[in-house]
C-alpha cells in the first residue's frame, strides 16, 4: 500500500476535530477507508480521512482497533480488545459503516 501514497501514515479526523494518526497499512483493513485512499479521491492526496458522523471517543477506539488488528495479523491466540460497554452499540454501527465485519479478508 506504500506505493500509492507518499506517507505511510494517514490521519483520521473525528466529527469534533480530533485527529488520529495511524499506519496506512493498518487503516486499510477497513474496506471503506481503503476505498477513500484509492484513486484520485481528495483523501488519497491529502492522507486525511474525515468522518463527520464519528465522534472522537469512537474513532479513538477504531484507531486502536486498527493498530491492534495489524499487530496480531496472522497470529494465533489473539487477546480480545476491550470494548467499552456504553459505546458498544455505536461501535457496531461504525464497524458496519467501516466494513470491519466478518466479510473482510
Amino acid at each position: 500500500m506504500a506505493d500509492d501514497g507518499p506517507n505511510k501514515y494517514i490521519t483520521l479526523v473525528s466529527s469534533d476535530g480530533f485527529e488520529f494518526v495511524v499506519l496506512r497499512e493498518a487503516a486499510c483493513a477497513s474496506p471503506t477507508i481503503a476505498g477513500m485512499l484509492r484513486n484520485q479521491m481528495v483523501e488519497a492526496k491529502t492522507g486525511r480521512c474525515s468522518f463527520a458522523e464519528i465522534s472522537s471517543i469512537i474513532l479513538e477506539k477504531v484507531a486502536e482497533y486498527l493498530s491492534y488488528r495489524l499487530k496480531y495479523k496472522d497470529k494465533l491466540d489473539v487477546p480480545d480488545l476491550d470494548i467499552p460497554v456504553e459505546y458498544c452499540l455505536e461501535m457496531i454501527v461504525v464497524a458496519d459503516f467501516l466494513g470491519l465485519d466478518e466479510q473482510m479478508a
Binding site: 499487530k71 497470529k75 489473539v78 464497524a95 458496519d96 466478518e102
Partner: protein, 612 residues
C-alpha cells in the same frame, strides 16, 4: 517407658498415644511443651505490650486497670479500654512496622496488582496483617461482642473493630449487611481456557487466524451485557441476526431480551433458541412484526396449538417457515395452518417434531401449497412411505431433504424420483439404511439439475451402483456431496469387501471425474473401502479441484501423510480437512491458512497450518 526401653510391656494408654508412638511422637513430650508454652504465655501476659503485636485480637487476660473505664461499659470491653496509653502506642508502632513489612512482601505485591489507588493499598495491607495475626482455628477465644468463649473455626467472622465473633454474633453481623463482599469469580481467561476456546472455534469451523473483527468484538461485548440494552436501535438486519445468534449460543434469549430482535418493519425473525419463550411470547412476535415473511424458530417447544391458530388467523403470509422441536403442535393445527396459509409458503422445514407431523399433514401439501419449493422433514418418526408418495405429487419442489426414522423401501424413492426428480436441485436422504442401487439409478435417469446430493448410512448400495450414477450422468457438476457412512457393515470380516458394498474406490474416482470441477463440499466420512491408490489417483499431481472448500475423509483408513499432502496440493482453496480416525496420518506439513482437524497424535487434534 524410658526405664524399660527394651520391653514391650505397656500400661493402659489411649489409642492416640499408641498411634503417635508408632510415629515417634511422644504424648508426654507434647504435654510438657504445651505446659512450657502456657507458662511462657502467662509470663508475657504479666508484662503487657510485649508480645501484643503478634496477637492483637487476643484480649489481655489480666490487664492492670490504670485508666478507669466508664462504669456503664460492660465488663467485656474493660480489658481493651484499660490498656495503657503508652503500651498502646508501642503496639501501634509495632503494628505499623509489621504492616510496612507486609507491604514489601511478595504476596502483597501480587495482590496489589488487582487494585489501583493507594487507599486500597493501605486497606489491603491491614487486611493481610489481620489475617496473619488472627488466632488459628481450633483455639478458644472470647467473642468480641458478647464475650462468650467459643472455638475458632476457619469461618469465624472478624468483628469490625478487631477480634473475632462467635457463631451467633457472626450471623447477626451478616444479617445486618456487614457481610464482606465476595469478589465475583473471573471467568477463566488463562492459557488453558483460551486454548480450549480456540479449539472449540476451530471445530465450529468459524476459526481464522488473526484478530477478530471489530464487529465480532462489539457483539461479544454486547451479548455479555445484554441486560443493559434497552433497544438495539437501527442496526442492519444482518447485525441483529448476528447478535441473536450470539445470544442464543449463551442461552440468553428469554422473554425480556426477545423484544430487542422484534423490529416492526422486519420481514424475518430468526430465533435460534426459543427454549425459554412461552406461547404468549410467540404470539407477541406476530403482534409486533406484522410484515413477517420468514420465520425460523429453533427449540420452539412452546410453539403450540394456540400459537399456530393465532398465526393462521392473522394477516401474515409466511414464505418460509422453519420449526425445530415444536412437539406440542397437533396434526389438526398443522393442517389448519397449511390450508389457510399454504399458498404463500415456498419453504417448509420441520425438525425434530416427531409426534404429529406425519403422512396426513404431507397429504395436505399438494392442494394447499402450490408454490412449495423447499421441503425438509428431519428427524421424524411419523412419516412413512405413504407420506413420501404424497411428496411425489409436489411438482414445484426444488429442494427435498428427508431424515426419517421409519425405514422406507427403495421403490418408494424410485417412484418419487421418477415423478419429481427432474426438477430437484437438492436431494438429501439421511439414514437410509436399506436404500439400494435402484435409488442411484433413478437419480441417474431422472435428475438433471441436482447440485446437492446426500445419501448417508446406506449399507446396501454398492460401488458399481455409484459408478453407474456418476458415469455419463447428464447432470451438472454437483456442489455438495455427502455420502457419509455408505459402507459395508459386516462385523465378522470387517476388512474384506468382496462385493464392493458401499462407496468405494471406483465410485470415488467416478465422482471426482464427474463433479471435480465445481465441487465445494465433499464428505466421505467412514467410506472405509476407498483404497490408497484411488486417493492417489484422484489427487494426482496434474489434477486440481479449484472450488473444493471443505473435505471430510474421516475414518477412511487408507489415508496417509502422502495423500494428505497431495490433497493440499490439488485443492488450492481448501479451508478445512477432517481426518479423524485416519491412523496413518502421522506428521503432515500443513500450508498456511489451512486447517487439518483430527490428527491422531498427541500434538493436538487440530493443526492450523503456518508453513508457507
Amino acid at each position: 517407658m524410658s526405664r524399660r526401653p527394651n520391653r514391650r510391656i505397656m500400661g493402659p494408654q489411649s489409642a492416640l498415644t499408641d498411634f503417635l508412638a508408632t510415629h515417634h511422637i511422644s504424648a508426654a513430650q507434647i504435654r510438657a511443651d504445651a505446659d512450657a508454652r502456657r507458662r511462657a504465655a502467662q509470663r508475657n501476659q504479666d508484662e503487657p505490650g510485649e508480645e501484643q503485636s503478634d496477637q492483637v485480637s487476643a484480649p489481655p487476660l489480666a490487664p492492670e486497670v490504670t485508666v478507669a473505664p466508664s462504669p456503664a461499659l460492660p465488663t467485656r470491653t474493660r480489658g481493651r479500654a484499660a490498656t495503657e496509653v503508652t503500651s498502646r502506642e508501642e503496639k501501634r508502632k509495632k503494628e505499623q512496622k509489621v504492616i510496612e513489612k507486609i507491604k514489601a512482601s511478595k504476596k502483597f505485591q501480587k495482590r496489589k496488582r488487582d487494585l489501583d489507588d493507594s487507599d486500597d493499598e493501605d486497606d489491603l495491607a491491614l487486611a493481610i496483617f489481620q489475617e496473619r495475626s488472627a488466632p488459628l482455628p481450633g483455639q478458644m477465644e472470647n467473642c468480641a461482642v458478647c464475650g462468650k468463649r467459643f472455638t475458632i473455626t476457619p469461618y469465624s467472622r472478624g468483628a469490625p473493630d478487631g477480634g473475632l465473633l462467635c457463631t451467633p454474633c457472626g450471623k447477626e453481623l451478616d444479617q445486618k449487611g456487614g457481610a464482606p463482599k465476595k469478589k465475583a469469580k473471573r471467568a477463566s481467561g488463562g492459557p488453558v481456557g483460551k486454548r480450549r476456546q480456540m479449539q472449540s472455534t476451530i471445530l465450529d469451523g468459524t476459526y481464522r487466524p488473526g484478530a477478530k473483527s471489530l464487529m465480532t468484538l462489539c457483539i461479544e461485548t454486547l451479548a455479555k451485557n445484554i441486560d443493559l440494552a434497552e433497544d438495539l436501535g437501527d442496526l442492519p438486519p444482518l447485525v441483529i441476526d448476528k447478535i441473536a445468534r450470539k445470544l442464543s449460543k449463551h442461552r440468553l434469549l428469554n422473554p425480556t431480551t426477545l423484544h430487542l430482535f422484534l423490529q416492526p418493519s422486519a420481514e424475518e425473525v430468526y430465533i435460534y433458541d426459543g427454549a425459554k419463550l412461552g406461547a404468549t411470547d410467540y404470539i407477541k412476535i406476530f403482534q409486533t412484526v406484522p410484515s413477517l415473511k420468514r420465520l425460523k424458530i429453533r427449540n420452539g417447544i412452546h410453539f403450540k396449538d394456540e400459537v399456530m391458530e393465532y398465526l393462521a388467523s392473522r394477516n401474515i403470509d409466511l414464505e418460509q417457515l422453519y420449526l425445530h422441536g415444536s412437539n406440542l403442535l397437533s396434526q389438526d393445527r398443522w393442517k389448519l395452518y397449511l390450508e389457510e396459509k399454504g399458498k404463500s409458503l415456498y419453504s417448509l422445514r420441520v425438525y425434530w417434531t416427531d409426534k404429529h407431523f406425519g403422512d396426513e399433514v404431507l397429504s395436505v401439501l399438494e392442494a394447499s401449497c402450490p408454490s412449495l419449493e423447499r421441503l425438509k422433514v428431519s428427524h421424524n418418526q411419523q412419516v412413512t412411505g405413504n407420506g413420501i408418495k404424497e411428496i411425489a405429487k409436489l411438482k414445484s419442489l426444488r429442494h427435498l431433504s428427508l431424515d426419517l426414522r421409519n425405514q422406507v423401501r427403495s421403490d418408494v424413492y424410485v417412484s418419487l424420483l421418477s415423478e419429481i426428480g427432474a426438477g430437484l436441485e437438492t436431494f438429501s436422504l439421511s439414514r437410509v439404511l436399506d436404500a439400494d442401487n435402484t435409488v442411484l439409478d433413478a437419480i441417474h435417469n431422472n435428475c438433471r439439475s441436482l447440485r446437492k446430493l446426500r445419501i448417508t448410512e446406506s449399507d446396501v448400495m454398492t460401488d458399481e451402483g455409484f459408478v453407474r450414477l456418476f458415469k455419463n450422468w447428464a447432470n451438472r457438476s454437483l456442489l455438495f456431496v455427502d455420502l457419509e457412512k455408505c459402507r459395508q457393515l459386516e462385523a465378522s470380516h470387517p476388512r474384506e469387501n468382496p462385493d464392493n458394498v458401499g462407496f468405494c474406490s471406483n465410485a470415488f474416482r467416478a465422482l471426482m471425474a464427474h463433479s471435480g470441477r465445481a465441487i465445494r463440499h465433499l464428505n466421505v466420512h467412514g467410506c472405509r473401502h476407498i483404497s490408497e491408490s484411488a486417493f492417489e489417483d484422484v489427487f494426482a499431481p496434474g489434477k486440481t479441484y479449484p472450488e473444493l472448500f471443505k473435505l471430510e475423509i474421516s475414518f477412511c483408513e487408507e489415508v496417509t501423510d502422502f495423500i494428505v499432502g497431495s490433497i493440499f496440493r490439488s485443492c488450492p482453496n481448501l479451508r478445512e480437512l477432517n481426518v479423524f480416525g485416519c491412523m496413518k496420518v502421522r506428521d503432515v506439513r500443513v500450508p498456511r491458512g489451512k486447517i487439518l482437524v483430527g490428527v491422531p497424535t498427541a500434538v493436538g487434534m487440530v493443526i492450523e497450518g503456518d508453513d508457507d
